[in-house]
Amino acid sequence: MKKRALKAASVGALGTVMVLAGCGTANTNGAGGSNADNSSGSAKTVAARQVAAPFPGAVPGLPKITAPAGFNWKQFAGTHLTFISENTPPSSALAENIKQFEKVTGITVTIEQSDLSTVAQKVALDFAAKSDKYQVIYPDPYQMLAKYSYDYVDLNRFNNDPTLPHIPGGLNDFITSQLQVDGYMGNKDHLYALPYDCPTMILFYRKDIFDNPKYKAMFKKEEGFDWTPGPNLTWQQYYTIEKWINQKVKQGVIKGVKYGAGAQAKQYDSLMCDFSNVLAAYGGDYFKAPNLGSIGTTNPGPSLMNSSKAIAAATMYKKIVQAAAPGSTSWDWNGLAEAFAAGDIAMAPEWHEFASMMENPAKSKVVGKVGFAVLPRGPVRSANIFGGTGIGISKYATPKEQKAAWLFIVWATSPQAQYMILKSKNGGETPTRYSVYNLPEIKKGMTPGTKESKEMPNLLAMKATLEAWKPQNVYMRPKIPQWPQVDSIVFTELSKMLANQETPAQAMKNIAQQSNQLTGN
């Protein structure tokens, strides 16, 4: 009897030790970011003993990729996945390092890259055909998630499955606003994608011009304010600076640039993005319904583009573009970046990930001369449009492919992989994980002149970008199924306004009218 009681006590003690050990592992792995996984079923995650995955080169201080004890990483060996993605730096970096994943899992992955509109077209066709050609998808929230959310697998299913690996560091380690826009549609019941990349528009400016004491003093004397780009600069002041630099360049006073500012005002998606920064800064938005830019909705409500705020924003935007470099109306983000890198422009709103291009001597004449700040304020706030995307799984993939795809997503969006992508020689891309930004090495890289900033030049833009991501500064365009058409209406009417075919008020009225027709409001 005593023996039996002793045996039972020993087993109980062993069990307790194992559970505690499991909890300890989970906590250790969560270091650096927020550990808790708030999704339902997280309790199960903690309960199962987690063992580090056999991926090489784990970075200390970042949550590790783990799986339940005894998990066979090779159980889906032989499965082939195709990941369709826009041709972006993170996808190129993943493609470079894909052998790492393939070696551990035995799953082979083809990363197919195209321009975004081709990706959107292929994904739409694949869903229409209910085909599983693409098991892993790069669902742009506005073109591929809002419209086709029902065609993606709910990732909570896998994340809550005690037999599978879970999101390293938990969902809370993703930048909150990015998880909402990239991951959900309509409500937070289903998680369709995990944040993967995070381009955001901020202000690029030439430090050699703006920090020049002679120019700075001259400007302050003539215009009466400090022109240093930062959170207090307004769009009205931006316009004043732009005109002043143009004038001084003509007079031969300022050398080293040709124009005060540039814009990405080509009749294209870039024009809508460029304008949205001013629109939101003036307190305007495209539609009335709440949470449009985060969770998204299928009914955006009536258009707000006929408002006085929208008209004021359009009037200001028109002035800014008309004073900008003459090429502005034919540039998208690439054209603008090239003009900036060629040294033609003193300041411009641009996607933050172009920072690495500015620091690449093969592509840029302004290496070491570029500063970054949040975009100017309007009467209401500074608004910096976000353009990131996640990774999701097609509902039409077979159950085995879906699980294999989950392993791929866990790896590709993990802090470890995000760190690897950031350091890629392929241009890199900034992470979507808090834990990576908490690393001392990464913090150092945000300061110009450090060894880390030279190794990871995209980090130079991160102080401004982290500021831009704050809820009060970030702008998320409406996530609605009709967005691709609304986008087209917006940039078409804006383009007419810039060509003086319409007044700002007429352009806004037309946008409102056409948008309401489209959304049935």
Binding site: N87, T88, I111, A128, A129, A342
Partner: protein, 282 residues
Amino acid sequence: MMEQTRAGRKRGALGTAVLYVIVVIALIWALLPIVWMVLSSLKTQAGMFSMPPKFLFKPTFDTYRQMFSASGGFGHYLWNSVVASVLSTAISLVLGTLGGFALARGHFKRGKDLSFWVISTRMAPIPAVMLPLYLMFSKLGLIGTMTGLVFAYTTFNLPFALWIMMTFFKDIPPALEEAGMVDGCSKFQAFWKITLPMAAPGLVATGILCLMFAWNDYSFASVFTSTATQTVPVAASLLVSQEGVQWGQAMATGTIIILPMLIAGIFVRKYLVRGLSMGAVK
């Protein structure tokens, strides 16, 4: 009288001079972008954007070397383009020639409607046929395969080849075949030995046009291919990314896309002109 002739000569010389000036302007208009592209592909990145532009410089083949290296992988895209365009052209020519001959010589009920129906399949814009083709190809497992791409091109090229060849055959008098048959030819021999050689210019013109469609196509290639089967125009689109435009490679890719068609055009231009003008004058 002499003065009038002199004045006439002057007017003639002036007219010729004006004509030459117009031709030169037209040539510059047409050729400058191509020459610029070819020259840029032989420059360094810095040289490409130097102001004023240089027409005399030391050419470098570094861009081409990089593109055709193992890491560049351009040879793979080129091979895919060659296979897809040549195969689809060959299939379209063979079937189009036989079908065109049948439509030209055969006596069918509602023959005219039939030939119109054939060409009407070409009237739909590419995006309109994309979804049905994708659905079919998806069920047949052809998405992302070379076979799928060849089928897609043939879908568009075949009606065109069939219609064009039909009009060529209609222009050749049937009496020539009948004479051959009187001399002992079978119907097929008459077609093969008499009619087909006479339709050679039409065959060449049709072939070149089919080849050009498949070689330059981006719409089908961007949707129906996968990484392994992507063609040169798709590769060209990948040169524009969030990291900027790879101008050197874009110029070199443009040069490579143009070159085969240019060479083919020079060699067959005699046939092409005859082919395209055949049937124009009765």
